[in-house]
């Protein structure tokens, strides 16, 4: 199906104020709307499958294509999942609420109205605590409601992939009608310079919560978790909130963080220049880290909400809600408290692991036999560095917790030292196989043969007579250079501690 594009207003020329200056003059207020596609087997209002990536328009029926006469039937599992999310977010669960129709025309929305919820959300007034920079920030949740996703439009022919400038568009209705939960925060003031980090930490915490509940696969790359980021600024000393913008469909945590920062810099420049911030939706650009104007909300769409007459009200039995509450799994914050006490690490280390999304990896590595401290050290040290270098995340590195655990075991047994272990990890990441294969193929065995080591040391002492003399004369610190020489000569395979011991013996020095 083809159609020419909607006309979208063009990007405005942009000036920015440096972040520190912006923060000195204005206080940011955040707000986040998160859409989570539920991982139910069937769609929200019909029996169609929900698998991602099926050929276009193969998971459709008269109901989700809005054929004349077709009627919705609410997916009870989706209602249950939404209530569980609400409970995990400390919300009040409505005893009676309704779906509502949100009316607007758009080609990827088959009915030209979305079945959503309006003034009667299923869950309301909750909170989620997130930790940022050693500080706990309570994010208040306004509402959690249930709705249906739209189809997906692809705009063909333009440079940007957006509708503007496209030659034509095609629609895939497979996604139309997939259950979608919208989680809306209350405005979040008081985060100051940490605003971008708070936004990111909230996103990560929310994703962990969804995963723990098992309600969604929360794949941001596949759109099953999407963020709309609201930002407004108020001048320091003022108590009146500014006009907010809404940056739509930000689809990575890094982008959430950058979009907040970029929007603070942009709005500050607008306000400082005597302009006013326009209430509008904006698009985030990964390449520049900045946002551009989307459609203006000032000529706001009138969605003409009214209660959905094709569906009956939702009336969750309070006893059932209590059963769901009692059956909630250990939530991420409780898990972190448990892990911290089990692993005996500092708040700061916990924070670092949280930010790096490393808990699952570290826990799995320990479960695979690694000592807790080593598991943490490798993931948060060498592997974090490599992830950073290749602009990826720990979870996306091509190495498993079991492989990392094997490396820690080899180190603990003395078969590898740290330097060799790094080389092994490098080989695994390069796709050379598991740790044992890399050790074999790269020849990374520590030198345990005393005869070989002794010969290397003799040669090093001969080559570095000055240093040897200093050691003999009691300047033991000079032994470092000699050990370094041995390591170099053995190409890192020597056991440095043993080498040091042997050097001192040969020079007749005791410590």
């Amino acid at each position: 199906m083809l159609w020419k594009g909607w006309v979208i207003t063009m990007a405005d020329p942009m000036t920015l104020m440096p972040y520190e200056e912006a923060l000195a003059r204005f206080e940011p207020v955040l707000g986040l709307e998160t859409h989570v596609e539920l991982g139910t087997a069937s769609k929200m209002f019909c029996g169609c499958q929900t698998a991602f990536g099926a050929p276009p328009n193969t998971q459709v029926c008269p109901v989700c294509l809005a054929f004349p006469g077709a009627l919705p039937v609410a997916n009870q599992k989706a209602i249950e999942s939404t209530i569980r999310i609400g409970l995990a977010l400390n919300c009040t669960i409505a005893e009676w609420c309704r779906f509502a129709r949100k009316n607007y025309f758009y080609p990827d929305m088959p009915k030209n109205y979305q079945i959503s919820q309006y003034d009667e959300p299923l869950c309301s007034n909750g909170y989620l605590d997130v930790e940022v920079g050693g500080r706990t920030v309570r994010i208040e949740i306004e509402r959690v409601h249930l709705e249906e996703d739209t189809g997906k439009s692809t705009h063909v022919g333009g440079a940007t992939g957006r509708i503007h400038g496209a030659d034509y568009s095609i629609v895939d209705y497979n996604r139309a009608g997939i259950p979608l939960v919208e989680i809306v925060t209350k405005p979040i003031p008081g985060t100051d310079a940490m605003a971008p980090e708070v936004a990111r930490a909230y996103g990560i915490e929310l994703r962990e919560l969804m995963r723990t509940l098992g309600v969604s696969d929360v794949r941001m790359d596949q759109g099953s978790m999407r963020f709309d980021v609201n930002v407004s600024l108020m001048p320091r000393g003022s108590s009146e909130w500014g006009t907010r913008t809404e940056t739509k469909n930000v689809n990575s945590f890094r982008s959430v963080e950058r979009s907040v920062r970029g929007e603070i810099e942009r709005q500050a420049a607008v306000l400082a220049g005597g302009g006013r911030v326009i209430q509008e939706t904006r698009h985030f650009h990964e390449d520049t880290g900045q946002t551009t104007s989307g459609r203006s909300k000032e000529e706001a769409q009138d969605y003409r909400y009214f209660p959905e007459p094709d569906l009956v009200p939702i009336e969750p039995d309070p006893a059932w809600v209590e059963e769901l509450r009692a059956a909630l799994p250990e939530l991420p914050s409780a898990r972190r408290r448990r892990l911290q006490s089990e692993w005996g690490v500092s708040d700061l280390d916990m924070q670092a692991m949280h930010n790096a999304d490393a808990f699952d990896l570290v826990e799995a590595t320990i479960a695979a036999g690694a000592p807790a401290a080593d598991a943490r050290k490798w993931w948060m040290g060498e592997l974090a560095r490599r992830a950073n270098e290749s602009a990826t995340t720990l979870t996306d590195l091509p190495i498993t917790p079991a492989q990392v655990a094997r490396v820690t075991v080899l180190v603990a047994s003395g078969a590898l030292n740290d330097k060799l272990a790094r080389s092994v990890l490098e080989g695994v990441l390069a796709g050379e196989g598991g740790p044992d294969e890399v050790v074999a193929s790269r020849g990374l065995q520590i030198v345990n043969d005393e005869g070989e080591l002794s010969a290397i040391i003799d040669q090093v002492l001969a080559d570095n007579a000055d240093a040897a003399d200093k050691v003999r004369a009691g300047k033991i610190a000079a032994v470092g250079a000699l050990v370094g020489g041995v390591m170099k000569a053995s190409r890192g395979k020597a056991d440095a501690a043993r080498a040091r011991q042997l050097i001192l013996e040969k020079l007749g020095v005791t410590e």
Binding site: F67, P68, G69, R304
Partner: protein, 497 residues
């Protein structure tokens, strides 16, 4: 033997069960009748003799193989063209769906098939069921068999005319504000609006979701009851469908005993604006019920006065949203898609060309009523009226078993008379709308001809939610007593076509 097409559904069912006639013979007799008279009546939008005869043959085969079939197996039926049918076009009498072939059967359609009913074709209606005369059909007006210069009622006017002209013994309708009862009244047949949720809306092209109710037409109360029973009952595909047994409507139709029943006459319906001949026949019907042993009292339902304005906010509001799906994207008409226009322009051109004036009027009314800033004053207020009307019914049904009123203020009006006066047209549903707003069961049964024009008058019988059987009991009593007075059915007085 009387011509087959003049027999009632119950009679045909018995003949078919006894093997005295085949479903093919019965279908052919009706197809012949349609061929003879439908050029005058114009009840049908779609006919396919081959499809009809194939269905009839299939029923005959099932019977030949000894399958136990229901009482209507092999009986022909005319089906309102607002229910989806996988083997016939479905248009809702709109240009925007011209030639559309649905990929699925409505629940009502599939239940007709399961009961062995043989679908003769799809009947005319006001576009998307919006109207009281079929004059809003995009495919021409249906004519009242009693007087071809008059309207057959609407929106289900094709269905009422088909039954009243003996083209079909039964037909389906939908009633949103009176679209079954008013056409039944003005064509001298029986029409029933079941309790809302008692019959499935799945596959019924929506006009106003909270009001639309499928229901039966027949020439007798028993026929209507048999059809009511055949397609009603819980449907998991319609969330608003009631999960309860179908009230014992057939049993009630066979036991027309009103002795001791309490019958309330709605005080607010009558007087100014009502045709004297209509009121005369209504009063006689009430006296008749009293003579049969019923206890008649007058009951006041003060909120009924606000039913019409409330209806004309709620129904257009829902329709403005329900009809948004006709956007040229996935089915139906597409206008202006020449590669130069945006999707928005194609949608606008298609809707402008595809919808008739009354549909556009209601979409605009509803869009306005739901708009930000107006919602509370219009849609919200109308919902409050709806609650008050339901309370009036509740209070009334504490005093009486059924309420009665004229079905319509006047008999069938001449074609064209109200076509340019929407307010006059809307008044045709004055008495029928309260039952839609409250979701009650309500029926229209013939109660004679008006003195002024010799056109049929209907008696409306309203019962509580899920009290559908009471309508049939009272309706059957009226029918039996009047037919013995008249010496036969009212339709026997209709001029030959």
């Amino acid at each position: 033997m009387t011509e087959l097409f003049r027999k009632t559904a119950a009679e045909l069912g018995a003949l078919l069960a006894a093997g005295e006639v085949s479903a093919v013979e019965v279908a052919q007799a009706h197809l012949d009748r349609i061929a003879a008279v439908d050029s005058k009546v114009k009840a049908f939008l779609h006919l396919s003799a081959d499809t009809t005869l194939a269905q009839a043959r299939a029923v005959d085969e099932r019977r030949a193989q000894g399958e136990k079939l229901g009482p209507l197996a092999g009986v022909p039926i005319a089906h309102k063209d607002i229910f989806t049918t996988a083997d016939m076009p479905t248009t809702a009498a709109s240009k925007i769906l011209e030639g559309w072939r649905p990929p699925y059967d409505a629940t009502v359609t599939s239940r007709l098939r399961a009961a062995g009913l043989v679908i003769l074709g799809k009947t005319n209606l006001d576009e998307f069921a919006m109207g009281s005369s079929t004059e809003n059909s995009a495919y021409g007006t249906t004519h009242n068999p009693w007087d071809l210069g008059r309207i057959p009622g609407g929106s289900s006017g094709g269905s009422s005319a088909a039954v009243a002209s003996y083209e079909a013994p039964l037909s389906t309708g939908t009633d949103t504000g009176g679209s079954i009862r008013q056409p039944a009244a003005v064509t001298g047949i029986v029409g029933m609006k079941p309790t809302y949720g008692g019959s499935s809306r799945y596959g019924l092209i929506a006009f106003a979701s909270s009001l639309d109710t499928p229901g039966p037409f027949g020439r007798t109360v028993l026929d209507a009851a048999l059809l009511h029973e055949a397609f009603s009952g819980h449907d998991p595909c319609d969330s608003t469908s009631i999960d309860a047994p179908v009230p014992p409507v057939v049993e009630a139709a066979k036991n027309p005993d009103v002795a001791g029943m309490r019958i309330g006459v709605v005080k607010e319906f009558g007087g100014e604006g009502y045709q004297p001949g209509v009121l005369a026949r209504f009063r006689e019907a009430v006296e008749l019920l009293e003579s049969l042993g019923a206890k008649v009292v007058e009951v006041s339902c003060p909120s009924f006065a606000y039913a019409l304005p409330a209806y004309y906010l709620i129904a257009p509001s829902e329709c403005s949203s329900n009809l948004a799906r006709f956007d040229a994207m996935r089915y139906g008409l597409r206008v202006g898609d020449d590669g130069t226009r945006s999707a928005e322009e194609v949608m606008a051109l298609t809707r402008a060309a595809g919808f008739g004036p009354e549909v556009k009027r209601r979409i605009m009314l509803g869009t306005y009523a739901l708009s930000s800033g107006y919602y509370d004053a219009y849609y919200g207020q109308a919902q409050k009226v709806r609650t008050l009307i339901a309370r009036d019914f509740d209070a009334a049904f504490h005093q009486v078993d059924v309420l009665v009123s004229p079905t319509t203020p006047t008999t069938a009006f001449p074609i064209g008379e109200r076509a340019d006066d929407p307010m006059a047209m809307y008044l045709a549903d004055l008495c029928t709308i309260p039952a839609n707003l409250a979701g009650n069961a309500a029926m229209s049964v013939p109660c004679g001809l008006a003195d002024e024009d010799d056109m049929p008058v209907g008696l409306q019988i309203m019962a509580p939610v899920l009290g559908d059987d009471r309508c049939y009991r009272v309706g059957a009593a009226v029918e039996r007593a009047l037919e013995s007075r008249w010496g036969g059915p009212l339709l026997a007085k209709a001029p030959a076509l």
